[in-house]
Subunit: 343 residues, 4 copies
Amino acid sequence: MFFASDNTSGAAPEVMAAVLRANDGYETSYGADAAMQRVTAAVRALLEAPEAAVYLVATGTAANALALATYCPPWGAVFCHQDAHIAVDECGAPEFYTNGAKLVLVPGDHGKMTPDGLAEAMARTGEGGVHGVQRGMLSVTNVTEAGTVYTPTEVAALTALAQAKGLPSHLDGARFANALVATGATPAEMTWKAGIDVLSFGGTKNGCLGVEAVVMFDPVKAWEFELRRKRGGHLFSKHRMLAAQFEAYLQDGLWLRLAGQANAMGARLANGLAAIPGVVQKHPVQANMMFPEWPAGGHTRAQAGGAQYYAWDLPDGREGARLVTLWNTTEAHVDGFLAALRP
Amino acid sequence: MFFASDNTSGAAPEVMAAVLRANDGYETSYGADAAMQRVTAAVRALLEAPEAAVYLVATGTAANALALATYCPPWGAVFCHQDAHIAVDECGAPEFYTNGAKLVLVPGDHGKMTPDGLAEAMARTGEGGVHGVQRGMLSVTNVTEAGTVYTPTEVAALTALAQAKGLPSHLDGARFANALVATGATPAEMTWKAGIDVLSFGGTKNGCLGVEAVVMFDPVKAWEFELRRKRGGHLFSKHRMLAAQFEAYLQDGLWLRLAGQANAMGARLANGLAAIPGVVQKHPVQANMMFPEWPAGGHTRAQAGGAQYYAWDLPDGREGARLVTLWNTTEAHVDGFLAALRP
Amino acid sequence: MFFASDNTSGAAPEVMAAVLRANDGYETSYGADAAMQRVTAAVRALLEAPEAAVYLVATGTAANALALATYCPPWGAVFCHQDAHIAVDECGAPEFYTNGAKLVLVPGDHGKMTPDGLAEAMARTGEGGVHGVQRGMLSVTNVTEAGTVYTPTEVAALTALAQAKGLPSHLDGARFANALVATGATPAEMTWKAGIDVLSFGGTKNGCLGVEAVVMFDPVKAWEFELRRKRGGHLFSKHRMLAAQFEAYLQDGLWLRLAGQANAMGARLANGLAAIPGVVQKHPVQANMMFPEWPAGGHTRAQAGGAQYYAWDLPDGREGARLVTLWNTTEAHVDGFLAALRP
Amino acid sequence: MFFASDNTSGAAPEVMAAVLRANDGYETSYGADAAMQRVTAAVRALLEAPEAAVYLVATGTAANALALATYCPPWGAVFCHQDAHIAVDECGAPEFYTNGAKLVLVPGDHGKMTPDGLAEAMARTGEGGVHGVQRGMLSVTNVTEAGTVYTPTEVAALTALAQAKGLPSHLDGARFANALVATGATPAEMTWKAGIDVLSFGGTKNGCLGVEAVVMFDPVKAWEFELRRKRGGHLFSKHRMLAAQFEAYLQDGLWLRLAGQANAMGARLANGLAAIPGVVQKHPVQANMMFPEWPAGGHTRAQAGGAQYYAWDLPDGREGARLVTLWNTTEAHVDGFLAALRP
């Protein structure tokens, strides 16, 4: 019963099979492999973006930091939620890759920026002429770090504010598939149709070994991105191993099936928790991650039952948890957890 | 008949099998996996360095750039051969990761620095007080970019000059196994016993998917390295996939067997070439990479025979080539190439 | 009647005379001038810090950014007030010089951090292991951007929190003299005796042409600072021009007399404003800068009377202003302003 | 008898008088002063460049590093002479400000690049696709570090190679006036008419306190430059002090008169040295700096006579020197030196 992180599971069988196949024979290195051509075509097709530039890297932090550095100058401000992964969990990678851009943190309930909150942050940034950093870009995370989901309309309301200031917008889609499944939106609706210029398209958390795509809908900065990727040490020599993963991930809708399973198990878990007296969700449960709080004793019972997850004590004597359901979480896992937790 | 690059082959079967096994079940992420503990122990044992800090990344450029940044301040000079990979083939990754250190290029025949050449470069650097960059560190590549090999004694002669100035020394061992096989040196003899402080220990070119170890013989900078790795986007969430590769790579001497095959095929190829009239090696052939030159017509014949390699024309009408033998190059590959090339 | 900024006035006559004298003859360049030796001795004496390293630069942004870069690693967090000059008015110079450190903004009334606010910010930073930036250092501004002043006791309460985490502390003393005059503290009491490790000791705003000292109470990083200063382009060739200013500035207490005049005129102005119906100070007036608010019409009258200052309209129909008194503001200036403003 | 450096003298009386005048009264800060408007107009007029963007900083290293960072991306190569000030004497400031661009060093006799040498360096840079740094820009120093001078035709031959690759060109004119006087070229002929895009226009070495202009002939990057200058800590609050210097420097041809004196004294010194048996110039003497070599004993005699200059011993027993004549060097100084040196 593993609910600690999307990263604790391995890769889906289809992805591993593709990696095994890709390992045979000889292939051109550094991204000039045939599989990458197929990946580019597939990503363009599903995003309805025939001109988009598509690149692969192995970690989400690399995808985000390279995307930000390509679109935000060193003297720019990146507007993001105060709990965004880029702000909290990347050890300053955005600042490193941008050569010192500043993350301007926008508050907001349940991990989501509101248009008012973003507008307020934009209004107090970049108004000091040369003395302050300039408005640089927007970064939206979907699924958020609180496990909530922006609809395309909500994303568009934020990017509209950015566009009004002439700023590009980034979507951190480490859990992009989960966000699409949760909202029923198409990839295009969630991205360029909602004003997104550059997308971190996650694979690792959702059934890959380690691969993320960066998609730039306008390819004008494609070569700059390639140079930044190489310079960051993120260009794989045996690049076909990344391409094979992502090709299998997209094939026949695997990526959405995997996220669908994770989200469905998330809903099942949330429903089960709602039926246990004293359990309260800190945030609305909309995808595959939740933050329930329950009376003292829950951790002991759940862990005795074999559950693994992030657990902490709350000041009021109650207990808090982060629970993540995975592409390979089963109903038995969920039900087993609920049975263990139940007093 | 693939002689273009070490990177065009896949991973060895033992490595792939380990990755498959590692994919099962659940595992702690971000380097806290059990396999990494075994990798650390194995690396320490074979390097006879029980205190060494050991970290894994996925690319050689990342390994080198992070190693340099950890040991050289931004105002430092990195002394290296003028054809070193860090100088020529990493798109400025060392400068990026060090925040602007300067690579001071040392000339030398056949890809190798001489003590005199290094001493001369050191003598004219850092003598201008605060006005010039300071001497920072030494970086030696073994196997060199010319396919030649330093003996431990030769490495020690260079590191002694660095130590005399109080500088640490780095070994870029993207082809570390090939250098050991070529010289018969032990890993310890080629590294810390020869004055090396930090090692890029290559796996990718020699039968892995994509994994390199960075070994710091004095672990005092271990935590700094971890922060730099994370900040560079090089900490894998599903880190076990790196650890599984490297564990299999080291197990039962696989890494040395693979390099042994590549070097043996290199010697067979060199011997065969020596028997063809008009073929001259630009550099001594000491490992698995060579730069032969031959009369006009060779490229046409070899490529017609199915050979793939880097080929160019020389000003004098002759032709030049880079040929790399791989862990899975066979005698049949070599002999087929020679047959095709022969007039 | 100039109240716009400390920077709109020129240099004090004593400072200009020293510059003129320094211009005669020949002098060793790049900081090896005899005047710099005298400046170092004088700064050490008045700070009661016989070992301190003392360097001069020409701008406050350079002093702050170099001080921060010398004490905070790229992966560190600099804790500072949310309105600090380093956060708001330096166009990201701290991020540039530190190679991407993160400023963690601490709220607090009237421009001042409270121990509780700082403790809260420290508690939520650097607890994520390698994933987040690490706690790096503290930076306190005195006089604050709100015109208020920390007592040495208040500074010590903040630095104690930093020391408890092993962090160094910086004092941005662009208006250091004004803070000393306001509190009656000695330079030592306000700095190292209160836990400060590195001081930006301002001259420009208080009667110099353009010179700030950076003082490191422990000289262990002196050489690193020199290299960072040179590398930042802040080492003056005709350095004696900086040294001459600072020598004159410190001589016979000139610096405290100039700040004393500015503060006294600040008090006179505040007293006069308090006597005008409807005038309210946004922050306590403790030095030479204040932010009064008054009923509509004040700007028109004051500007008609010849006053220059930063003026804005408030949402409620009232008006806001920033007024700065200078080393050469006179009673006539203050009284003239008050007469003009009075309805 | 001071021949050590241009930086050992003070400012010309006209410059000091202007600084004194500028100190009176109140003035808008941060470059919005009236004097700066006059400086911009004067620089544009004398360069015949009515659209040029003109900015002031206080040091030559700042001027150069900011100019390079504005025109060269982090993954670019800056082609320059191997003895260029930016390569040797700025402690890596170009690498710092560009975020890690690489200086590609071009050899050449007497401090000057030749078109063939530059073409060769360009040919071996940036040909490796994404793996190597890209060609970024050209930087030419005039007067060179060897005291020699490029004619406009020679500059144009170099910039033509840059333009053929689409690269911008920088002129490091720390001794710009001396180069103009030496060649008789107009400012326009030596810069934009010879293909220069951005100029470091020196004042400090030639009779100012500390001021250099950066001139961008196409102003499209003006705002970026302003942000980089602020972010580097090089925007002066009491900016009028820089503007006053440069205004006086340009007024009535003062700058050319000062350089004319320095160059004339250089010629007188060179002529006198030529008449002393055994004295040989290492480089042609074309401006105000020379590198004579003479038999043993010269240093002792010259220094006994009161001469100050950089002196060293040569391996063959002879002696070497760097002698710089200044804007205020007199015939008496020169003749006194010659008399002292003469055996």
